[in-house]
Each structure stands twice: as structure tokens, then as C-alpha cells.
Subunit: 335 residues, 4 copies
């Protein structure tokens, strides 16, 4: 369950405060030149302290080390294993947390699931730090899907209800000042997607994308095309009038979000992911100990005000992995 994908498969490992996190990306076709600088650049977009307002102060270089799968800069068809060292993991920061379950975090859930066993250091396996693994793998997948003409980009379209960059910055500054946090929405578009990706009935492209996005920390919702807005539309308002049918189904509108019946039609794929506010705040919070007694969580450590800015490259990465997987699946099913 730490593996994502059918033919292009990412197996993730590591915890927030172990020696390293990493992944194994299996299924990449052989002979693709991989630009590792581009992969590192994606990691830099995501990493804490990268400058974006509202991001954490933990200092990690997030340097990628590739252990296998490349020779002379080309993929060999073998699994690409990589690690990212945890260099700024001050585990002792978390000694006081050994018995405290933070509200809104996975702490209690892991404890309940694993019979009392839990890595209390910075969220352990449930830490958002693990999204770095996704970003690295997604950056490799991005180079693969680019060979098919696919490009993926995402941006924050809403933070705390604000929709303009200036208003978002202002809200984040205000939230930080009062020790609060914000949620928001990331919108993602994939262009150049060939028709025919996605599999009926349970491998619908939107189902694959939804599973991908809902596996990101703090994600609370997913929609595509008109999405939730479609629920309030009339059929006559929400249909794309077909203009042409060649290698794609052409229309001047894209209510469908590029997918019909679970299968891409050659139009842009548009989707949105909603994120809740970060559960860790610089204010005193009621918490609970592992013996069931209530307690108080005193704020300290290093935390983001809003997950959305750093979630943008993660959303892109999950989209790249999903589309890469769908591309391989589609290639398989030909006479």
C-alpha cells in the first residue's frame, strides 16, 4: 500500500526523522534520457524554506541521490531507486511528544491502527515530508510523459477564500500573526494528453487521478472539469458541443475536463484539489495523550501556515505519475 500505480509504480519509504526517505520508481521504459537537474529543481520548489510565504522553517537541502536504474544518463528499464537524506531532523525536538497525540494529525490514527506502535518524531511516516518522494518520482515521470507531448502545471487558485496572489499573501501573513492556519485549492491542468487514456470501469482516468490526489497530505476534496459546480448546472449548460472528431474530440468549451466515460478525449484535463488548513498552529491546542487523558499542546517547532504553496508541485507530481501510468496502460492494450 506504499506503492502507487499499475505499470509505472512508485514505492515510497522513509519517515520524517529516519536517516533518509526515498522511493523506487519501476516501469519506466528504457532509453529515456533523464535530466536530474530538472528533478532536483522540482524538489527545490517543494522544499521547506524555499522562500514562499507561509512555508516551514525546517532546513533541508533535499538533495537527490540516485542508486540505480540509470546508466550514462539513460533509463535502463531497471527500477530507479533514490534517496533524500534527512539532514535537519532534530529528533530530540519530539521527545516531549512521545505520548501526545496532536489534534488533526495522524498520530492517534496510527496508534490505533498499529497496536500502540507509532513513530512520534515529526509525524513519522505520515509527515508531509514524504511528499518529497512523490515530487522526485513525478519529476522523472514528467520527462516520460513529455515524450508523448503531455505537460502538467498547477497553481494555487484559492487560499483562505482569497483568489488573487496579493490577497492570498495578505491572508497568510495575518494568519501567521495570529497563530492560525489556512486551507485552499490547487488547480491542475494537463495539456497535450492524447485521447484514449483511462480504463473502464474502475480504472477511469478521473478515478486514478482522484486516488492520486486524495493520497496527498491534507487533501479533502477532488473534482475535475465542472466538478462540484456541475451539481448546480442544467444539462443544457454543461454539455460541450462537439466541433470535430479526428485524433481528439474537439470543442470550444471544456465542461468535461478532458474526460468522458473515464477516458481522455484529447482535450486539456482540468482538476482541483481542496486542502484543509494545517493542523499544527502556533497556539495552544487541546490534545490527548496515549493513555487517554486530555492534555495541552504547547506550540513549538517549525511549521507552515498553509499547505497549498508547497502542495502545488506535489499535485503536479501525482498528476505526472498517474498520466504516465495511464499512458503505459493504454499502450499495452493494442493489437
Amino acid at each position: 500500500m506504499n506503492t502507487f500505480g499499475h505499470l509505472l509504480r512508485l514505492t515510497s519509504f522513509g519517515e520524517s526523522h529516519g536517516p533518509a526517505i526515498g522511493g523506487v520508481l519501476d516501469g519506466m521504459p528504457a532509453g529515456l534520457r533523464i535530466d536530474l537537474d530538472a528533478v532536483q529543481a522540482e524538489l527545490d520548489r517543494r522544499r521547506p524554506g524555499s522562500g514562499a510565504a507561509g512555508t516551514s522553517a525546517r532546513r533541508e537541502s533535499d538533495t537527490l541521490t540516485v542508486l540505480s536504474g540509470l546508466l550514462d544518463g539513460l533509463t535502463t528499464g531497471a527500477p530507479i531507486a533514490f534517496t533524500i537524506a534527512n539532514t535537519d531532523a532534530r529528533s530530540s525536538d519530539y521527545d516531549a511528544m512521545r505520548h501526545v497525540m496532536r489534534p488533526g494529525h495522524a498520530d492517534a490514527a496510527y496508534m490505533l491502527k498499529y497496536g500502540g506502535i507509532r513513530d512520534h518524531r515529526g509525524g513519522g511516516r505520515a509527515s508531509a515530508r514524504l511528499t518529497a518522494v512523490v515530487v522526485a518520482a513525478g519529476a522523472i515521470a514528467r520527462q516520460f510523459i513529455a515524450t508523448a507531448g503531455i505537460a502538467v502545471s498547477a497553481r494555487a487558485t484559492e487560499i483562505g477564500g482569497a483568489t488573487s496572489p496579493a490577497a492570498m499573501e495578505l491572508l497568510m501573513k495575518q494568519a501567521r500573526a495570529c497563530g492560525d492556519t489556512l486551507g485552499g485549492i490547487v488547480e491542475c491542468t494537463a495539456t497535450g494528453v492524447p485521447a484514449g487514456l483511462g480504463e473502464p470501469l474502475f480504472g477511469k482516468l478521473q478515478a486514478m487521478l482522484a486516488a492520486a490526489m486524495m493520497s496527498i497530505n491534507a487533501a479533502k476534496g477532488f473534482d475535475y472539469g465542472d466538478g462540484f459546480a456541475a451539481a448546480r448546472m442544467r444539462g443544457s449548460e454543461s454539455i460541450d458541443t462537439p466541433q470535430a472528431l479526428d485524433s481528439a474530440l474537439r470543442s470550444t468549451t471544456n465542461h468535461a475536463g478532458g474526460i468522458l466515460g473515464g477516458i481522455s478525449i484529447g482535450a486539456d484535463i482540468t482538476m482541483r484539489v481542496a486542502f484543509k488548513p494545517i493542523a499544527t498552529m502556533m497556539r495552544t491546542l487541546p490534545a490527548i495523550a496515549d493513555d487517554g487523558t486530555t492534555c495541552t499542546l504547547i506550540p513549538h517547532g517549525r511549521h507552515d501556515v498553509c499547505a497549498v504553496p508547497r502542495a502545488v508541485p506535489v499535485v503536479e507530481a501525482m498528476a505526472c505519475l498517474t498520466l504516465g501510468d495511464a499512458l503505459l496502460l493504454a499502450r499495452a492494450s493494442t493489437l
Copy 2:
């Protein structure tokens, strides 16, 4: 890709206008008494012409035939195969449609994916009729998860923007009168879910549920707990204050929707699914032929005004299948 689930697996087969649709439900533990009348009752809730306003006029008895997996009323551990005959499939109704791609439907997508091969009769494999298979399997899964105390129920909370049953009925009547269709939202709650279901990192319970729901015809969005509304909330508004920790994490609120870090915490699981308006309308629509020429779609046949009423049991069924699968997965991972 016509199989859903990891340990509790539904393999679906059939088309709208073949001799039968059906499924194979594999992984059900042995020794469970199955009430087939209850399964049939679920099918009756979903079937066309079941009386709900806004539903289709196709007459199908949707009678379940079980081919295997039960002996003396008990599951044997063998796969449970079942069929539902297509008795009112007037295929000749669709002769005129052989070359026409209906707008907003999977027709063109299938044609592009399968190299021009497409079952034009009533949507073929992409028909919403296939949701009957999901409902039958879900009704069996429901009886399994009931043994663990889990119950699932859903209801339409919004149709065309209306949130009261009377207003929904009125809007559907109006839409039918003017040959239009409506979208809406189904809300689903699972109670009695034990803590510990869901798997990190890519088998998060919300990811499994999202994939399940986004595989339903016409679904455009999924969220859980506070969902998309969380994007506009502050952290201080969206955290559930923990009250107790025993076999579950107790709180008087449930912003989390019963899941933290991808794992159930013993609270109710709440989720929503958004549906687009049905793409088939009783009005003339611009369409496109398989030779790329534009054409006109003359309305005829038998169609719903809104997918939401009949989607309610389908959403429940997908939730039952997903929770049954998660339950088996959780049982496996114990010392």
C-alpha cells in the same frame, strides 16, 4: 481494469444491450449467511422505473441470478458470480445511432480508445445500467461489513441547487417539462467503522473511497469531512478537539470526516459525491458522426432527468465494497 478492490474484488462484465450484465465478487470470507432478498431489494432501489421522479422508463426487472459461491445460503469462500439479464434491451432502437457520437457521453471516447470499435447500443459498456452490478455486489459486501458493525447510508442532499426534497421534486418536474436535466450531490455516511481502516501512503481510506466514487457514471467530484469547505476555513475552526482515546478517537465534532492520515479513527465517515446533469436530454442536440461530420441528435428513447436519485444506492454500494476491502486489508496486517 474492470476489477475493483484488493482483497474484496468485484469484476464487472456486460453491456447495456447484451444478453446479461453481471459480476464476480471474490474474497468474501466463508461462512456468512447471505440474504439474497436484501440484495434484490437494493437492486430494486436502483432500477429504472422504480417510481422515483426523474427516473428512466426502461422496464427491467433486474432479477439477480447467483451462479456460484453460495451453498445452503452461506458463502463458501469461492467467488460469488451473478448475472442480471437484459430483458428490455431494444437494440434496434439504437440502429440509427451506430455512427453518431452523443455529446457528453463516452461514445467518442470509446471510439478513440478502441480504434473505432464501439458498442453503440445504449452506451454499451459505459451505460449507467452497469451500476446494477455494483449495487448487487455492494449489497453482499454490506452484509459482510455489518458483521463488523458498519452501516452505510446515503441520500440526495442537493439537486439542481435545491436542498429540500420538495424543491428537488419541483426542479426535476420543471426540467423534464423543458427537456432539460439536472445535477446534484449525494452525501454518504458510514457509521460503526472501527479505527484502523486505510493504509498509508497510497491506500489512504479517502483515496480508496475517492477512486470508488469517481468510478460511478456522471460523478464529477468527491470530498470527505469538511471537504471543499475546508479550503476556506481557518485551522482554529477546522480541528476536532479530542475528548477521549479508547478504541476510537472521540470528539464532539467531526471536521475530519472520520479519517486522519488516511486511517479511520472510529468516528462516522462522511463524504459527498457531485454528479453532473445527465447528458441525454429530450431536446435536439448538436452531435458528431464517426466520420467527423457534425450532425443533430433527435431525442428519443428512455432517459432520466437526474442521475442523483438512482445514484444514491450506487454510492452506498461503492462505499460498502470499499469498506469491506479495507476491513480485510486491516485484518491481514496483524501479528
Copy 3:
């Protein structure tokens, strides 16, 4: 676990004495013309009472009914579901067996696994009758791999130690006369297999084939190329001298059995499957009841003397399914 394959997937269902057995073959590329007469002919090769010496007297027509996945004789890309009715299933024959575990059969194993639940009628799910499902699906897969130039054929090379057809017949006649049964070996060759099928490290082609063959009833061993004989050879005797390397690795010998490092090299794939003698014999056997008391099994019913003649088409079918799956997997992994 009742599903075989990764991309070309057969889901099997049914028991010896239910209304029908059947399967769902998912993943077949669209647009392939299927000759259903050829599929029926394969079923006829396998069916009881088909004339071969040493085969059972149960009378089944084994008529294939296709429920989905074909339109105008072509695959549509949708799952191909089919049933084979159990028409000569005299369940009452087995009433006396409800509490008796036959020696050498799966009876006790199923009882232990499924908490006392067991279909006692003719072996239930464990019956060799289920191989008909494999044969039908394999016959469809055979038509797919033929498009890539692959042909599969098998034959009995050893029965009871005899290697000539006449000696085999004689031994079977003698065994039948004294109420005994025989084992044997089926050899299978796949020609026209392109280089590149099979996946490192755990999807090696021989590993896929071994799993396929060892899932056949009564199979006790698998080898390929020199197989077990290689254990007694010297390296200098067992290497194929390469003669040319174009789209295949050419040699005048084939110790390798067409596979090196888990990947086909373009030579014939050769393999052998060993079958134990059938455990049901026309003689009184010591047995055990489900209450743990020993008892005696009085022979009756309808049984083969040797599984090998009817296993030949089953071995072929499993090879066809496996190679079809490997072919789809190989197609997926291309830039």
C-alpha cells in the same frame, strides 16, 4: 485469487455442481475477430467422455455461452464473460460424501481453510471441471497471441513411465482394470515467441509460466529448457552457442528453453509439467470424516484413470494466457 494475469486477466468462477462455471477475460485488445468455433473445439478436446482412453464418463456438452465483450464477432475491449452450464451434475450422487474427506483431494484442505464450510459435491471449487474455464479463456488468448506469430502446442510425453503412445494406452488399460490410476508428464512448446517477453526480477517468464502450470489440478512439478536434467549437466554441455543476433538470439541448440534471465530470446519456449496419479480410484480407500474419525471410501461415480490426456489442452491454455499477458506487458514498456 481467482484471477490470473496482470494485463490479460482471467477471473474464474463456479463449482463442479452449481448451475454453471465460467470466466471473465479482461484486457483483450479491441478489434480482434474471435472464432468461437475454435474455442468450442478446444473445450471439446478437454471435455469428459471425449473418447480418449482413461477419461471420465461424466457427460457434459461443455457448450460455451458468451455474455459480453464481443460485437459483430470482434472484441470490443470490454471484458469477455462466458459460462459453461453444468448439465450432468448429479449432486445427489454426493450426498453420502457430505462428511467424508477423500484422500489425496482438496476436501480436508478446504474444510480446514474455510472453517468447516465446504462444497462436498464433486470437489466443488477444487474440481478439475474448472479447467474448462481455463481452456475456454486460453482458446481466446490463443487467437490473440497468434496475431504476434505465437503458436502453442502440448502433448503427453510420459504416462506411468511409458513414453510411446501404445505403451501409454496399455498402461492405462491395465491401471483401469485393477482400479488404479497413473501420473505422467505433459510437454509444451511455444513457437514464434518474440524476444523481450518476461520482466525482471519477479515477473520472469519462467516464473509466470511456473505459476500458471502449478495452478493446474494435480500438477506436481514444472521445468523448462533442460529443466531438472540441467542439475546433472556440466556448464560446457548446457550452453547454447550463439550463432547470430538479430531480432532474436540464434543458436542450433536450445538448452535454455527460449528464456535467458527471465526474458524470451526469440527461440522456442519448451517446458514440462508433471502430474500425479488421480487420487480417486475404483478401489476401496481409507478416508477420514469431518469429525476426525477414519472411515472407508467405497468407489463409485465417474472418474479418469489419468489426468494427462485431458491436461494437454489445459497446459496449452495456461501457456496461451501467460504469453498473452507477457505480450501486453512488453508492449506497455516502450518509449
Copy 4:
């Protein structure tokens, strides 16, 4: 395809001459104390130069580094990632081999599969060095299955046809002297296996074990219980007379090899794996270059005379992984 297992899953990575090889073992239940010294001891049994006659001279310490999944010596339920550094990888030894395909090796197969891309350094991904990853993971799995009472042990029962240790040693010495190599057979027994492991129809325990064993380098055959010998036996000779039925099916004989109908019956599981002679010999061999011209392979480097001694711990490891997986699967399928 570099992942083995359903619920207990090993994902392998690395090549003979990269910086490191390693694996990710996912699905281990939480709370199990892991003795890493015992894991290292298994690695030491397998490693080259460990003293056994007929083994390679490459010097590797094969030191295990665990990156994740353990806290305070206990499994946490998170994936256990580990690496084994390649410290004695003299890649330049292989410069001359860049264009040469060694006979009997995977070289040409990989080249054909991956469009000319191939890691020529010591076999790359196909190197037997990768079995160290299996051994490490198997040693962890061994500690898990021990909690259920299962123990696994294997031994070389035949080398070059010899069956006594003294004769095996002598044959290996002779083979080394004349630059030749030998094959052999490893026999493996699992004791304490509870009844009920293995899944019908395609997850039969022998099918899982066969796939496991046939994924080991140089393995050419697998059988269990009476195995290939059963092909020459009569039914009356090959049936185990049942003596008692409690939590297991008891008999004084074990022709079945502990499995009936694909499911363990509580008796010892016995199996054999046949290995071909090592293809690299200290003698001049005809080879072929990647341009299709024939050439000569001059012997050099560091190589074993027989794979069997070092294959013993690998066979055990694959058995441990398979039985651990089957154990988790069996636990899942309970009411």
C-alpha cells in the same frame, strides 16, 4: 515487476555495479522485534567468498543498512527499506564486455528487450548479486513467520549428480580444475505451517512457491511433494492415508508435500529447485557481439563453480517471503 508478493511485498532495486542494491519490504505487521544480526547472518551465508567450495572470489562485506520501518528495534508497520553497498564493484573489469553478449547469460535478452540499452557491468540487474536483497528481506520475513511457528530450511541434495557432501565437494574441485561448472538441486522444507495457507484457484500455495523459486537466477525447475517422481507412480502408491483430522490433516506419509488443492494441510511442505550449471566458466567460450558478429569470450574475473551452495539461503528466503505473504492473505479472509 520488481515487486514480489501480494500483502508482504518486496520491491527490489539495484544493479551489480551501481552504488548499492537494496529493497523495500512492505506489509510487515507492526510490533515485531527484528533481530538485525540474524538478518546479517543470513547475508553472510550467501555472500561470495564465504568459504564454501565452489564460490566466487568477489569480496563484498554485504553489510545491511536499514533506512526506515524500524523504531526502537520494532517494526512500525511502515515499509522497511534497506541498502547493501557495492564496495568491491570493479566496473572497469567490464569495459571489454560492453559489446559482448556472454552465452547462457541474460545479456542478449536484456539487449533485445530494452532496445539496445543494457548495463554490461557484471550482468547489471540480472546479476546473481541481486539475490542478496532477497536474502535480507527473507530473513526479516523468517522472523515474522516464526511467530506463527513456521521454520524453513534448505540444503543442497545434489550437485553434478552427486548426493553426498564428500562427492559434491570432489566434483566441484574437479570441475574447477578443468574450468567447468556444475548444476544441482536444492531441497527445502517448511515445518510448522498451519493449515489453510494458499488460495484457490490461481493463488495455490505451490503456484506461489513455484513463481518464487523460478525467479531465482539459474533455476530451471520446481517441484513439491513427490514432484516429478509422481509422474511414474500409481495412485495406490502416492496417496497419503489420513490418520486424523484436527487442526491439520495427519498422515504418516507425505507424498502431498503438505499441500492439497493448493492449500496447506498442516504437514511439512517439501519442495525442490533445480539449478543449471553456471554459464560463466574459466575456459574460452564462443560468444556474440551486439553487432551480431560472433566472437570469443576469454575467461577472467571472479566466478562460482556451482550456484547451488549459495542458492540454499536464497531458496530459504524466497520460501519465507512466500509463506509470510500467504499467512497475511489467510488472515485477511476470516469473518
